[in-house]
Symmetry: D2
Subunit: 483 residues, 4 copies
Amino acid sequence: MTLKKAEDYIASLKSLGLEANVMGKKTQDLPDHPLVTPSVRAVATTFDCAHNAETRNLFRVQSSISKEEINRFTHLHQSAEDLIKKVLMQRCCGNITACCFQRCVGLDAANAVFSVTYECDQKHGTNYHQRFREYWARIQTDDLVVDGAMTDPKGNRGKRPKDQTDPDLFLRVVDKKRNGVVVRGAKMHQTGMINSHEMIVMPTINLAPGEEAWAISFAIPTNTKGVKYIYGRQISDTRKMEPTCRLDVGNSAFGGQEVMTVFEDVFVPEERIFLNGEVDHSGKLVERFAAYHRQSYGGCKVGVGDVLIGATALMARMNGVESASHIRDKIVEMIHLNETMFACGIACSVMGHPTKAGNYEVDMLLANVCKLNVTRFPFELARLATDIAGGLLGTMPSANDMDDPVAGPYIKKYLATVQGVDVVDRMKVLRLIENIVAGPGAVAYLIESMHGAGPPMAQRIMIGRQGAIEDKIKRVKNLLDLS
Amino acid sequence: MTLKKAEDYIASLKSLGLEANVMGKKTQDLPDHPLVTPSVRAVATTFDCAHNAETRNLFRVQSSISKEEINRFTHLHQSAEDLIKKVLMQRCCGNITACCFQRCVGLDAANAVFSVTYECDQKHGTNYHQRFREYWARIQTDDLVVDGAMTDPKGNRGKRPKDQTDPDLFLRVVDKKRNGVVVRGAKMHQTGMINSHEMIVMPTINLAPGEEAWAISFAIPTNTKGVKYIYGRQISDTRKMEPTCRLDVGNSAFGGQEVMTVFEDVFVPEERIFLNGEVDHSGKLVERFAAYHRQSYGGCKVGVGDVLIGATALMARMNGVESASHIRDKIVEMIHLNETMFACGIACSVMGHPTKAGNYEVDMLLANVCKLNVTRFPFELARLATDIAGGLLGTMPSANDMDDPVAGPYIKKYLATVQGVDVVDRMKVLRLIENIVAGPGAVAYLIESMHGAGPPMAQRIMIGRQGAIEDKIKRVKNLLDLS
Amino acid sequence: MTLKKAEDYIASLKSLGLEANVMGKKTQDLPDHPLVTPSVRAVATTFDCAHNAETRNLFRVQSSISKEEINRFTHLHQSAEDLIKKVLMQRCCGNITACCFQRCVGLDAANAVFSVTYECDQKHGTNYHQRFREYWARIQTDDLVVDGAMTDPKGNRGKRPKDQTDPDLFLRVVDKKRNGVVVRGAKMHQTGMINSHEMIVMPTINLAPGEEAWAISFAIPTNTKGVKYIYGRQISDTRKMEPTCRLDVGNSAFGGQEVMTVFEDVFVPEERIFLNGEVDHSGKLVERFAAYHRQSYGGCKVGVGDVLIGATALMARMNGVESASHIRDKIVEMIHLNETMFACGIACSVMGHPTKAGNYEVDMLLANVCKLNVTRFPFELARLATDIAGGLLGTMPSANDMDDPVAGPYIKKYLATVQGVDVVDRMKVLRLIENIVAGPGAVAYLIESMHGAGPPMAQRIMIGRQGAIEDKIKRVKNLLDLS
Amino acid sequence: MTLKKAEDYIASLKSLGLEANVMGKKTQDLPDHPLVTPSVRAVATTFDCAHNAETRNLFRVQSSISKEEINRFTHLHQSAEDLIKKVLMQRCCGNITACCFQRCVGLDAANAVFSVTYECDQKHGTNYHQRFREYWARIQTDDLVVDGAMTDPKGNRGKRPKDQTDPDLFLRVVDKKRNGVVVRGAKMHQTGMINSHEMIVMPTINLAPGEEAWAISFAIPTNTKGVKYIYGRQISDTRKMEPTCRLDVGNSAFGGQEVMTVFEDVFVPEERIFLNGEVDHSGKLVERFAAYHRQSYGGCKVGVGDVLIGATALMARMNGVESASHIRDKIVEMIHLNETMFACGIACSVMGHPTKAGNYEVDMLLANVCKLNVTRFPFELARLATDIAGGLLGTMPSANDMDDPVAGPYIKKYLATVQGVDVVDRMKVLRLIENIVAGPGAVAYLIESMHGAGPPMAQRIMIGRQGAIEDKIKRVKNLLDLS
């Protein structure tokens, strides 16, 4: 049993020897690539925190399987308190990294697969649960990073998988071998994939009889033969590759990362398959994973929000306007919205319940409410930060100009504000705000807040289903003595 | 020890012999007055629920003082779970009554006074805590309804109490007797006062040295000599007094009630005084009471919201449009907003903490966030209900026209919708919606949502204070390596 | 040719001898009924303004038919400037009455019927346009008030007229006579109907072949045989009938009025029929009337909004908080939203265009945008007014208590605020705010803002149709050189 | 007299020989620099449109000075119709370029300086108006691009110019010569400056006696000695410099551009000075320029919004979801918000009035209302576009990967959607959306929408001043018969 340190994690990641297509080039040594390194560091934070004095208690927990102490990022939740601590842990990581730290997806996938395999076995007499339990015991013991892969390309959104021009547009089983299956397809938007040791693959929609080939869930190592990665561009990504000063990136220490993952006839051995044709359990898997992941956003995005609020308040102070009533009012609004998301993350945790398999599940309704707020409030936080930060957010010269004998002194002279404020510090804070509202950080803070764990319409459908409308109508009928 | 039943409560209330000025007339036998009766029934629900099979477990709890089983509406919270159950209990009452059931204010006051008196005694060597504990033990044992009186008239809002033209505009001690004090002033907007046995009076603002006369907190029976009540008008209130059909009230079973309460040189005996001149503890009392009460709104208003959503969905069904996508979308939005408020009520509960005195206090930041959402979302719920309900909401004929031989049949003919829907049922649902969005129920659902437990600016000030802005700035400095 | 004065109008109205069922009673002498009188006075304002020095230029215009000077409320718009002046005139009336002054509906109906009859004649060789022109010439000359009746009861909203259980749920021709037709049905929510001399009836939806019986438009005097009126209840309506002080109504001078209008086999003579079976012109009539009326709301509701803003600002001043930054900020927000609606009213006017018949039509897209904003912003204005007005908005004692020897002095003592502010004046302002946000005025300011001229979904459909999406897509294709 | 063509403009621009510091390098031949070229093309569009058959009538107008035909971008507005046409012209340019076309600032400055100089001369006996008239006559005749420079660096926002640690933080006169003055300082966020022939410099705030040195307005050629330019970074700017495929920029044809402009002891000859120490006219200049420029945003941002809506609708179509009700609803909402801004731009134009100098000024209140909406709605449009565009917006591979023999085919296979949709076309549309909501275009569409022509608080102050609050209060007093 090991609780990996950051350096252990990075070493183990490098040993996987992953390759990806990055901006047109086949690339190796990914963890050392300037586009990738910040994202590795963000994941590494989840290991660091299990060792730091201030955070270790929150990040460590006793495994329900091995009874050993493990990193909470690999935990099967055993109580509402565990669910709450998950949210607190995520907010903490967001506070430190100001970006997506990528390790929740696998955690959320594992907790969903754990309970769904149990119920599938109960109904179909399959043996998935025990398999998964053994698989996951090793993840806990080795303290591995696991990605969860759900989003299929989907092709024509108006058509079912089998009605697509190309049936591979939803990942599917293309061949059955004696001891496993062969799968083909792709998963999109895979956050943190190339920083992971393993991935859990799941279907992306509720499937119906006749769609058995697409009802497949399994886990494989990220360096499995036939798996290909194509790196996703981010806003202002190449600033990370600019030779000199790192100032312009805004958050040079940490960052997120996404890839398109292609499965070119990949063989999956029997013992790593957790669903295979049981279409009636596909929807459950989608809903539960989504619910856990929608809860997650009540932690991680709130953590990033804290940094954005801090940066905005600091900018106001640097500009000499922190006590202006309209500035204070906007900061209060930012806090209010951020804490409302947090409240939803906490509430869906505490109102959680045990599954038949014994782990804990969030309240479905409130988890969806949480995420739906996350598709709105970060955008308003970003707008308010843009308001307070000022026009320089979009017009500030390059950090490279600071070294220029002519431009440098002018920038220092004319970007000066309150006495005692260092101009470069001020530029750093502006670039951090830019990073989150209109830079690489905005991929996670805005675009992923909209689409991660499903777009708003997916939450709305769930809220409609979970909202107990018939109960509410019944109350009205009681109150008014209606028939 | 008794757990009163509804009828016991009503009998005990009648025995108090309260009088009030009601629409220009000195009025006795208040509980039987048609304007008042629905509000008595709403309070009585809090007693009923402690006996009904479905709800009794939630509404009963072991007293921390007597160890006997008491009504949760008189409980000193002992855990986060208690705080959560308080919110669930309030949502339940809102579900049943669709209005303000008036019994939370005293509960919130008691929990605030309990901890503040403890801390005041610690600092000033006073004896308030033991006094209050004894006082409250009797409230629990006798299962009494207690109102909390905080809102002073305030006169010129730009001036301190002692700078007002009339110093009585904030309730104050005007004379000190050997065994008590004499107070003069008024408390505004007293929800449920004339349905209560007792009241706890508190200051309305944080006071400073020199303002000792206003730093007074105490409890007295509602029928104390010198206390006068002037009944507050509500929207469409006199429909409750109309002779024939009750249909037009919308919610004829239940209702809220507010009075202006005047203290004309009222004597308060020593043993019922819980603060008297310790200005440094006045602010705490205000903040804590307010925080508990802001939490309350995450339960009660959500409960009313459930009824409004149910009525709106039922109206859509009655009109034959329930499956229209824009209708479903609006219902989902109503549920989403309602559950967001609930999430905040739950979250500020679970994140609560014990006070020095041993009872449990809500998380101050999240309780204020909860209430700030309550100053917004019910208005949007009301707007959406207005959208779906249709124009008839503002133009429907009087129920009295139903008995008219000419008008009655026309109404039945032309207000018919989906086959099988009874026109009178449809009218009832419309009137219920009107009651909540633009009738007597709107006093609680909209105006009180705005101003109860303080207007939005009060919450914003607290959010600014509790929002840990300096911590957030520090995180930014760490991330960016700023000095 | 006469330009009636207010007293002429009232006299002429009385001479019609209209009857209505009012709260269960058959009632005559309607203009003198306390529920009705304020609404008559509101309509009378439209006559007064044509004589007052300050407003007469705006309210008078040269008739395009007779070339005589007429009241602009009967004008067929001849230019964009006419359309703008219409909006300004409506804002002016809103400013004076703080309520719905009821005379726009007929104006909007006339302008729609004028152009649609022309086009119908062109296509079908009918003679409607000349008929209407002659009819309307008399309206202008006699300066009459005309109501427009469009909203059918609609029954099951999911079904067409002929598929309803009762085909009368949409008004229809039930018999054809040699010199006219007989109609049966009802029109709902008829604002100002019993204060009108005439009414123009129109279909409520776009009709298809096979629905000819419902494609009927005509004008009749309001006192036509077979027409029945059932009075609509308004929020807090009976305060208008309370014996003593008028303070509690909030706006005792003016008010709105709605009735349900039943057509019990009413004969319509040939010369008053403007559409009869030409289903292909029914949709045009609906859309054009709706567009004109959606423009109207950019004037009248803005005028009421001005009064609400003024009352709110005055209340802040009376409370001594007018210079608080958050108060000023909320007043600014109210002005901003109000002026945004006004801007839409003006813009759809100036972007208007001539019809084939020669009168001027508003820009369809912008008129719908205007109204869609009106379904939102007044609700936010009301919310902000509620915030600033304070809790007293929902809890203030009855005006009758002012005369009570005990209660009266207490109210005066404890409702006092800034020195020099009269308490009764303060109560009047509070009641005016209550009137608009949660009293009889809210029927027009909120419920009618939502549903008048069609609910929001009706505007959304038109915006989708008029929004030139294909043009926008084409621009993208050009920019990106797409095929 | 010439009406320049695009190529004439570009040639004349090159002949200026401007230099700038661009990302750390002193750079010449700016119009040919890949970062700059798209912005030159955007300005060139304003010339093209004066020659294209479809647009020439809108873009050409008779000069009030020379009576010759000129480009409307140099026009002194003579009527409300001119103001409206200005907005239409701007929307048209936004439609073509999908970005900031940079030529409005000088137009807005000229119209403000024209009327303020007139009034200053009237009061102070100065000769500025005639000077400016002569200066501007040449601009019209030569069809030049003029920038307007208002925004000073401002240093500590809590201090006046003379109280700053460095008085140069507001541009000021540092020396007076016999035939001119010497100025020092900087102007920030200068949109289009290095694509301009001339600039008009104005003070940034209302100045008071004792601040004469800062009350300076003048015009100089952009290649004047002592003027230095430092290029501003934009989001994802260097994609414009990437060697291969231009797909990733999103809008490779057009773009915006901003510089920081430093005035290092620049000599300004007497005949180019339009204000020099008359502090009482500085505020007017600021307000009027701002009002014209706030009107502008009701045209240009709406034009970009059209493109964003078109791209979003096209993406929905390409994904096969265009007929989903929630998609249509969001597109309608985008149109609604976009047209609301347009309505404000049109309304402040038509409600404009002539100045004493004879040109036309927008309605101050409505122009500020227009801009305040622009600080909100584009953010919501961007959020809705993000919703519909999908997660690929933030995770799509680089265009360079298309050429890769492994990655290219995978991208084509898995990004396929509706049959017949070209994958590269789909990628182009996604990149265009990215460009506007989170790419270089977002600098203009979001950040500039917030801060251009002043941040929201500047508009709020003006709305508070222009909102006629006292009139509104007076109306309430009249209605209620208050003293």
